[in-house]
Every structure is written in structure tokens, then in C-alpha cells.
Amino acid sequence: MLAQLAEAIRSHRPESIAACRALAERALAAGVPAARIVDAALIPAMADVGRRFRADEIFVPEVLVSAKAMQGALDVLEPALADAGREPFATIVLGTVQGDVHDIGKNLVAMMLRGAGLRVVDLGVNVAPQRFVAAIDAHRPELVGLSALLTTTMDAMRATLDAIVAAGQRDRVRVLVGGAPVTAAWAMSIGADGHADDAAEAATVALRLLGR
């Protein structure tokens, strides 16, 4: 059943979205612990989706279908996960920086991070530095993710990092940056902790920064 669920997530067929909910319900009914369903089906399936996205075998529409299917299963499992006291092992506050309105890539990153087992607090687009600061206070995340798609808004990344430093929060969070014009060299120059070229790598780097 778990193999079937993983396969349904991987298949990225529109009908798999409904199928995944049903399969997750059946697995629960059959007595499989929710945490095991997550660990043995959801997470490996999304890791495989990420790998194929990175290899250019699948593209944005396919990843979105897989992510929706995974999210459907996760919604079914959530009450049982809460009952069993299983919490996401870390939180990331994620957003597109001030001045920028592109969010398709950032949304993919959010989905892959959820698929890797993180809690994602998505602040949306055109997020001012102070809103990141406030969200860090409110949600106590381990990670902060900044997205920028324009060469003219990359500076807002630096401004956001500066605001996090000024608020005395810098040693509490690791900062991950990305978006089409963002390079590893730029990430280093503004003092970020990590950078990724795509959503799959974003999950890998996030786990590495969390020491997992």
C-alpha cells in the first residue's frame, strides 16, 4: 500500500490527487502509523520527484501535481500525526523579497520543503524586511528562505539580511537564498548561509543546514 501511495505521488497524473487521499486513508485504517506513512511513502516519493525535476525529466506542471497529491495525503495524516506527538522537525519562514512579485519558484520550494518534512510559513510576495523580522519573532523558525527573480530586487535580499542582523536575530536562524539571478557568489557576498539553484536542491541544502 505504501509503495502504491509513493507511486501515485510520483506519477503526477491528475487523478492521482484523489487517489492519494484514499490510499492514505486506507493505510491509516489498516493500522499503519501515520509517521511511517510519511517516512516510507511521502518523503521518498517527493525526493524522487525532486531528483527528476533537477534532471529536467519533469517540469513545473508535473511537480505541482505531485506536490498536490502529497499535500492531500498529508492533510489526511495530520490529525494522526498530531495525536502521535509528531511535529515537523523544523520551521522555515519563506517569502519573495520586497519589490518582487514572482512566486511560482518560491511556491515550488515551499512544496519541496514540506515534502521533506519541514513546516513552512509562507509570507507571500513583496515582503518587506521588517515583515521577515516580525515573522521570525512570531514563529521561531530555524531557517529563513528569501526568493528574488529580478536583478533589481536582489538588493532587497541584502536589506532583509541586514534587518535580521539589526534585530539581533542572525544567530538564531540560518538563511537560504534563491531565485533565477541569485548565484552562490552573491549568496556569499551578502552573508547568507546557503543557496540553491532549484527547489530540489533547496530541500537538500535546507536539510544540510539543519544538520540532517
Binding site: D56, E57, I58, F59, V60, P61, E62, L64, Q98, G99, D100, V101, D103, I104, V125, N126, L150, T151, T152, T153, M154, A156
Partner: protein, 484 residues
């Protein structure tokens, strides 16, 4: 020391800048040098310009060339970006090459004749009663190339014309990259000098009494010395929309009106050239340049416009589009865009296909949004005009195969060369040159796609390629009778 540099157009099919500029497949042009020189210099000497998407800073592979013989030693960025195999096969970055010995190279990428942009047919059908007198300068100040013409207003004839690369190209391929690379003042000074140069070339005796310029909003702002800050980050709004006076080299200039933050006077000029102001049935315009603007005109005067951020994926021109279309037909690329079992020699990479999907998806989805807002179906569109420096080089069958114009039937798509230049020339002939442009622009509803609820979903849907080739239609560039 003398040595020769032979440029050969790569033997690929399709209509493309390279073939246009160098000649048919396999055609050669030879340059004899007497000192070490860069490839960019060689091209300039032959009156050719190489497209430099990253502004010639060796950060992308958009200017890739292949040496058949005499390749210079590779630089570190060439090794990093092209990979050892490609470097061993003679590939280099056009912007990074320094030549000091006899070499033969193939130009697979986009090379344009520097004088590539024109101003259309001998005469335009501006009604005699609407024409002014004397001479005027018309300028299409494009992101890639600047074209200027001296016009005899009474006869509509272009008495002299010239086309040169946009001097800001070295700061980056798109306007945002340029604004990030240099200060407004520095950009303005170069733009000014470049504009002064082309004006002097077509009008050395200063016979024309005014210069009419169409350009995108960022370039228009730079030209008149306005701040571009609000254009290059949210809210992406211009600080003015109406025509602005400016001065260039002591000449009186005027800009065309703007429609929105990234829909400018160039789109207005192209729309007028294609008759969108006189639409008696729904007419669409896709102006595919470095940026892409989509306009829709309905009978009764309602007009909508949006900026679709297509980017330079189409800079590869017809060759790459043709290759991808052919691979789709052959089933090597499937409708999802996956490139299967590509032979190692495939002329496109999976990344090229993905980049094209993003660009064409952004355009098709923008058209979908405008049609939806207008409450009409793609089948109701009587004509779709495809223009712009890249659009005008795409044969309709490829456009249709890639699904670039959504569900508009391919036989209704017409490709136009130099639409903006023809539009600004026609306006320059008129007694009150800005009246038609201002009336048109004032009635256009600007749709900000970032704020449209459905755009994201439609964009994702339009990333797919059509699963079957639509009925073919012949390619007809610029039906001359329609120029106005």
C-alpha cells in the same frame, strides 16, 4: 602580422538572424586583421552585431560560436560555462574570444546585420490631409537596436535611414539588468550619445525640425532624465504616461505615450502600424522583443494590454524554435517538454527547451488573460499580428507548433517586420504627430498580470506544448499593403 578570420553561417535550416546577416547556410565572410582583435570587433568591422544576452560579461552562453579551425586558447569562464567537451570541439564564447591567428568559425547563434531594422515600404498610406510639411526624424529606440530615419512628411518617404546597436547593450540584454549594472545618469549619457549619433547620420545638415522616439518605458524614462526606480521594482509603475519633450544634441525630441510600467511607446507604435486603432473585429498584437507585450483591440474601442515577461529565450531566433518544433514532431520532445533519448549531437539541450517553455507559456497565458477579460474566445480573434525583433523572425508554423499564440488559429497569425519603426514613421508624417498615439494609448486598459488571480494557473497550463501539430499555414512576412 596579418591573418584572416572567416565567418561561416552554420548549415541549419530556417530563417534566422545569422543567415540574414552572413548569407545562406555555408556562406562565408572573410575579415583580414593586422593586429590581435576581439571577435566582437571583427563582427563590428563587417557591420554585424553579435547578441550578448549578459552584456558581454562571459556569464551566459548566448553568444556561443564554434571554431572549425584556429580556436584561441579558452578562458576560465569559457571552460566553466561550456564544459570541456564543447571547448575541445572548438566552442567558445563570442564575447570572450581574442583572435591573433587565422581562424575559421561557424556562427550558430544570433548575429544581426547592424543595419537590420528598416522602416517599411517606400510610401505609407497616411491620408494626404493629415500629413504635415517639412522633414522630421523618426526613431525606434529598441532594447537591442536603434533605427532612425529622416522623413519627408509630405510624401511619407524615408529620405535616409540607419540602424545601429543600442549603446546600452554592453550593460546587459534587458532593461533591468542595465539598470542594475549602472546609474541612471551613466545610462542616460550613453543613450544620449548613441541617439545623437544616429540622428547626425541621417540628418547631417539638420533639416528635420523634430525627433519622434518610440521606446519601452525604462528607456523612455532614461531618455527624458526621469527616475526609473518605480519601474524596476514593485509597483512597476511609470512616473508619467504622456509624451515628454527632451533634447538631444540640440534637437527637439518627443517621446510616444506609455501604457503601463512595461508596455511602452514601442508597443503603441507597433499597434498603430498594425491598425489596432481601427479594429472592426477583435485583433491581437504580440510584440516579441527583449520583453514581450500583448495587446487586444475590440470593435467599439475597448483595448487591453499586458506585459508578459518572456525574456530572451527567443533570442536564439528561428533556428532554435525550428529545431524544437521538429523534435516535437519527431516525438523526441513530448508535450510536457521532456527531451527523450536526445542524441549527444542534438542542437538543443533540455535547459533550452525549458527556457522556451517558460517564455512561450508567459506569452500564451497573457493572451489567455486578455481574452478572458474581454469575454471572447481565441476563435473570435480575427487577426493576430506577431512583431518585435524576435517575433518578426519566427515563421508561423513554428509559432503554432510551439503553442506560442495559444488557441488562435495559425492561419490568422501574420508576422510583421519593423512594426514599431513603421508606426513611428507614420506618426512623424502626421500634422499633429502625437494625436493618434495619445488617443489610442489613453483608451488602453493596462492589466497587471502579477495581480491577476488566474495568471499563475494559466501560465502553468501553458507551459505544455500542443500535443498535435496544428494545420500548417504559409509564412507571409509583412503584407506591405497594410502599412499605414
Amino acid at each position: 602580422m596579418t591573418f584572416s578570420v572567416t565567418l561561416r553561417a552554420a548549415a541549419t535550416s530556417g530563417v534566422a538572424g545569422t543567415l540574414d546577416a552572413v548569407g545562406g547556410p555555408g556562406t562565408e565572410r572573410v575579415f583580414v586583421a593586422s593586429a590581435p582583435c576581439t571577435l566582437v570587433d571583427v563582427l563590428a568591422a563587417l557591420d554585424l552585431t553579435l547578441e550578448l544576452p549578459c552584456g558581454g560579461t562571459a556569464r551566459c552562453t548566448g553568444c556561443r560560436v564554434r571554431f572549425a579551425a584556429g580556436a584561441p586558447a579558452p578562458t576560465p569562464p569559457e571552460r566553466a560555462l561550456l564544459g570541456d567537451a564543447a571547448v575541445a570541439a572548438g566552442e567558445r564564447l563570442g564575447c570572450a574570444c581574442v583572435l591573433h591567428d587565422t581562424a575559421i568559425l561557424e556562427l550558430p547563434g544570433p548575429v544581426w546585420r547592424a543595419g537590420g531594422k528598416g522602416f517599411g515600404p517606400d510610401r505609407l498610406d497616411v491620408p494626404a490631409t493629415a500629413r504635415g510639411v517639412g522633414e522630421a526624424l523618426a526613431v525606434d529606440l529598441g532594447t537591442t537596436a536603434v533605427a532612425a530615419a529622416r522623413i519627408d512628411r509630405a510624401t511619407t518617404r524615408a529620405l535616409a535611414q540607419v540602424c545601429a546597436p543600442n549603446p546600452l547593450q554592453r550593460f546587459g540584454a534587458d532593461v533591468l539588468a542595465r539598470v542594475s549594472a549602472a546609474s541612471g545618469g551613466a545610462l542616460r549619457a550613453e543613450l544620449d550619445a548613441g541617439l545623437a549619433r544616429v540622428c547626425a547620420q541621417v540628418d547631417p545638415d539638420r533639416r528635420a525640425d523634430a525627433v519622434l522616439v518610440c521606446a519601452n518605458p525604462v528607456t523612455t524614462h532614461l531618455l527624458v532624465g526621469a527616475d526609473v526606480a518605480s519601474l524596476v521594482r514593485a509597483p512597476f509603475e511609470p512616473s508619467f504616461r504622456s509624451p515628454q519633450p527632451f533634447e538631444v544634441d540640440g534637437r527637439r525630441g518627443l517621446t510616444l505615450p506609455l501604457i503601463g510600467g512595461h508596455v511602452g511607446g514601442d508597443a503603441v507604435a507597433a499597434a498603430l502600424a498594425c491598425g489596432l486603432d481601427r479594429a472592426v473585429a477583435p485583433v491581437a498584437l504580440v510584440d516579441l522583443g527583449t520583453n514581450c507585450e500583448v495587446l487586444l483591440a475590440l470593435p467599439g474601442g475597448r483595448r487591453l494590454a499586458a506585459s508578459a515577461a518572456a525574456g530572451p529565450a527567443f533570442a536564439g531566433g528561428a533556428e532554435r524554435a525550428a529545431t524544437i518544433a521538429a523534435l516535437l514532431d519527431a516525438g523526441v520532445i513530448d508535450a510536457s517538454g521532456r527531451l527523450r533519448d536526445a542524441p549527444a549531437t542534438a542542437p538543443v539541450t533540455a535547459r533550452d527547451v525549458r527556457a522556451l517553455q517558460l517564455a512561450k507559456g508567459a506569452i500564451a497565458a497573457a493572451l489567455d488573460v486578455l481574452l478572458h477579460r474581454a469575454g471572447i474566445a481565441a476563435a473570435d480573434v480575427a487577426a493576430l499580428h506577431l512583431c518585435g525583433v524576435f517575433g518578426a523572425r519566427l515563421p508561423v508554423p513554428f509559432v503554432a507548433r510551439l503553442g506560442m499564440c495559444g488557441d488562435v488559429p495559425p492561419e490568422r497569425v501574420t508576422v510583421w517586420r519593423d512594426a514599431a519603426a513603421i508606426g513611428v514613421r507614420a506618426l512623424a508624417c502626421e500634422r499633429s504627430p502625437l494625436e493618434r498615439a495619445v488617443t489610442f494609448a489613453a483608451r488602453v486598459e493596462h492589466v497587471d498580470l502579477a495581480l491577476d488571480h488566474d495568471y499563475r494557473q494559466r501560465f502553468v497550463e501553458r507551459l505544455q506544448f500542443p500535443s498535435r501539430p496544428p494545420a500548417a499555414s504559409p509564412w507571409t512576412p509583412n503584407p506591405p499593403s497594410r502599412a499605414r
